[in-house]
């Protein structure tokens, strides 16, 4: 099957999300669609998947035009999509999830679960997916859950499988396994569209790379010939510094000290298990780990959003274990939260209001109970220009900004004051290449000014390049302290997966 997008244009009020996009995909090849956030990748795929109707242009399957009015049409035409956020029912088994919506039925319309199991086993064997049809989905690692999604798509007979940022949630080892699966799909004559913002991965797996910028395809490159910096430049429209530029660090006194801290979640599970570490002034300590290994809870306990059940937190030797979030904020702790939409910003409030969200009660911005909006506005204008936040005005809702600019709002708010400790969780998640460069340089600048910096990221490359010291978290414990300069990504990946490099064959 050949799939062609011809002259696709999709407009939203005020934006052209896709501007005359032409793309073709043949079965048996991997097309990587790469571009910054807001470049129009998701919109394009939603058009292809029948969720949006294009304003102009055509979709052609084997040279004949088709019209998709719903995902069901797209599925019928042989297009499958694996979303970044999986759409699985956590308490159902693999087989139940896979057949949801296309249930095989026995007599009287009863669910034929044996048939469903058989179907899963058959597809799983054919593509080497190694899935147990009776496993409960919520018990499975994320990488395996993704395979369940893949089986779902294959069972609906997809000729073309679209993966939306499939590696974002995977460990390095799972990513390698994922690429193997992609190769199997290709060998079986299916086509794959691989949406990503990770240049290395696109270069690694794709047969062709199409670069999207501001809704347009700015070029197609051959991964055998192109380099990372070439593609990055195409994505952003200017040369980009991909490597974090930093001088050797000069650590000072211990600023943050955590002693035997444990955190228990609402269900009573121990998420952080007797963790001890310290961060010195002028150094970046990174915490690597697969998502869900206690990093979120650790950061929330450090910033006061969650109670620790045991242990102590010291800031400049002062015990802050029971201080409120605001007290910690005032004592010089900055917090860039991992989920900017949920925690870092109030989407419905303006850019200016978000820029003072954690500081509106300071004398600078309020007198008694009355806000000083002119002062807040003036400060906002300064931050907007200083941090290069691209917004038409300080008064529009922050939710209308791109991901990168939203993140810059948070970075500007949190770093634009005298700090002792800066805690950043996933500081560049879903942020475009240009903004990543900027945010990284800001963090290093903060370190050089003598702030203690704690970075938590699931992007191994990010923690490795930013950190002076690297801690690996696995199931609530810190399982390794490493020097990122002398440790390989593969080894760190093994720690993240809970094993030790020394035990592995390659070590």
């Amino acid at each position: 099957m050949q799939l062609e997008l011809r002259g696709i244009t999709k407009r939203f009020p005020g934006v052209v999300a896709n501007d005359n996009v032409n793309l073709t995909l043949n079965t048996g090849e991997v097309l990587s669609l790469i571009g910054e956030n807001g470049a129009g990748k998701s919109t394009l795929m939603n058009v292809l998947y029948g969720m949006y109707k294009a304003d102009e242009g055509q979709i052609l399957v084997d040279d004949s035009p088709v019209v998709f009015t719903s995902p069901a049409d797209a599925i019928d035409a042989g297009i499958g999509m694996v979303h970044q956020h999986f759409m699985l029912v956590p308490v159902f088994t693999v087989a139940e999830n896979v057949v949801l919506g296309v249930e095989p039925t026995g007599r009287l319309g009863s669910l034929d679960i044996d048939k469903a199991r058989e179907m899963v086993r058959e597809v799983s064997d054919r593509y080497n997916l190694n899935l147990d049809p009776d496993a409960i989905v919520e018990d499975l690692p994320v990488g395996v859950q993704q395979r369940v999604e893949i089986v779902k798509v294959l069972l609906r007979d997809a000729k073309v499988v679209v993966f939306d940022e499939p590696t974002a949630v995977l460990t390095p080892k799972e990513i390698i396994e994922f690429f193997e699966i992609v190769k199997t799909l290709i060998a079986a004559g299916r086509g794959v569209v691989f949406i990503t913002h990770k240049l290395k991965e696109a270069l690694n797996i794709a047969d062709r790379i199409a670069v999207l910028r501001r809704g347009q395809v700015v070029g197609e490159v051959d991964p055998k010939l192109a380099t990372e910096s070439q593609i990055a430049e195409m994505m952003v429209g200017r040369p980009v510094q991909l490597v974090v530029d930093k001088k050797p660090h000069a650590p000072g006194d211990v600023v943050l000290e955590v002693k035997n801290m444990s955190v228990v979640d609402a269900e009573g599970r121990t998420m952080v298990d007797s963790v001890s570490f310290s961060v010195r002034a002028g150094e970046v300590v990174g915490i690597a780990g697969v998502q869900g290994n206690g990093q979120t809870e650790l950061v929330e306990a450090l910033t006061g959003l969650r109670h620790s059940t045991r242990g102590q937190i010291l800031l400049d030797r002062k015990d802050i274990t029971s201080a409120t979030p605001r007290e910690r904020h005032s004592s010089g702790i900055a917090h860039i939260p991992e989920d900017r939409q949920r925690q870092g910003l109030v989407g419905g409030l303006s850019v200016a209001e978000n820029l003072v969200l954690t500081r509106y009660h300071d004398d600078e911005f309020s007198h008694g109970v009355v806000m000083d909006w002119p002062a807040a506005h003036k400060a906002a204008e300064i931050l907007i220009s200083e941090y290069d936040i691209r917004t038409p005005s300080a008064d529009i809702a922050v939710s209308t900004l791109s991901g990168g600019n939203q993140q810059k709002v948070i970075v500007a708010r949190e770093l634009s004051r005298t700090l002792r400790l800066s805690i950043a969780s996933q500081p560049t998640r879903g942020v475009d290449v240009g903004s990543i460069e900027y945010i990284h340089s800001r963090i290093i600048k903060e370190r050089d000014a003598g702030t203690a910096v704690l970075i938590v990221s699931t992007e191994l490359e990010e923690v490795m390049s930013l950190s002076d010291r690297l801690l690996v978290m696995f199931r609530g414990k810190i399982v390794a302290e490493l020097d990122p300069k002398v440790t390989s990504a593969m080894d760190i990946g093994l720690y993240m997966a809970g094993s030790r490099p020394s035990a592995s064959v390659n070590a």
Partner: protein, 386 residues
Amino acid sequence: MNIVGKSRNLAARIARTSSFRLTILAVLSAMVVGAFIIILSDVDKLKSGDIVGAIQTVGSAYWALVIGSVGSLRAISATINSATPLILCGVSVAIAFKAGLFNIGATGQMLAGGMTSLWVGFSMNGPGIIQVPLAILAGAIGGAVFGAIPGILKARTGAHEVITTIMLNNMAAFMVLWLLKTNLFQRAERTDPISKVVTASGHLPRLFGFISDRPDLIAHAGFVVAILAVIIYWWFLQRTTAGFEFRSLGLNADASQYAGMHIKRLTVMAMMFAGAFAGLAGAAEVLGTYGYASQNFAGNIGFDAIAIALLGRSTPLGTLFAALLFGALQAGGRQMQANTDVPIDLIVVLRALIVMFIAAPLLIKAIWRIKVAPSSTGQTFRGWGS
């Protein structure tokens, strides 16, 4: 926690949904459907095939609505009188909405505030310049105290305010019934639950008191209190730190907690303020409209207020205009019933339709073919996991 979070979301969404245009269109749509109801209920004319006559009934009914609400000074006064408690209770529901809370308890808070206000109203005997403000203040305090209860329950135990405010409405109703039978409140020589009369110096002055010989102009200074309340509400939201916290909390509770705001304190505060505004409505009714309290002086106002806050998208001006619209419908409805055979119940239908159309903005968008930008150009699906 989950349900609470969801309702916060819903409340925030309702506070934001639909533009001014949608509101107008919802009112228009309701009028159109109302017209069909008038025609269909005019059985005699329909039987005789007198379609023109039936349509004429619609015309005269709606005309009477207009005349009865704004057609004369008397009509305007009646509209203002009906709108006064609606504005105050509307602000009560709106301020809670803004903080992400559903205040279904305006009725109970209004009853509580009305009773405390009444107590000052009949116990004191002038001078008016002191007694009236004191009685009004007593109303605000009574409402605030009663409103604080669901706030505290929510902050302390997580009890959902929808449930607790509804229950407290019932408790307030029976408490009023009991109070009206006590020696303190019950009018001398009466056996039914009816209160003593507010002393002459305690009455809210008539708004059009400067025009002599017009006892039919019933609007009173409660309207001034209501307008002041709207202004205070606006000032609070836009100019104070707590107002900023309310707005932030209503839009995103997680981010507000992250920003160091005291969610529990704000929850109690929001319900307390909501109660204070509803309490003022009670004061206005007791001191201005009736001059005493009977068992059911709050009527349906507390519930209509929910529709009003919805209709006005919880903004100060929106709530004011929505309450004026409802007040006009109330006043005009009486005229309509008098002039035509259309019963005043049609007003209830119209209001219900307006609310329905507001609550279903998609329906309005479909009917009037409005193109609306999707809220995000990105992912439409959201699953669990990751």
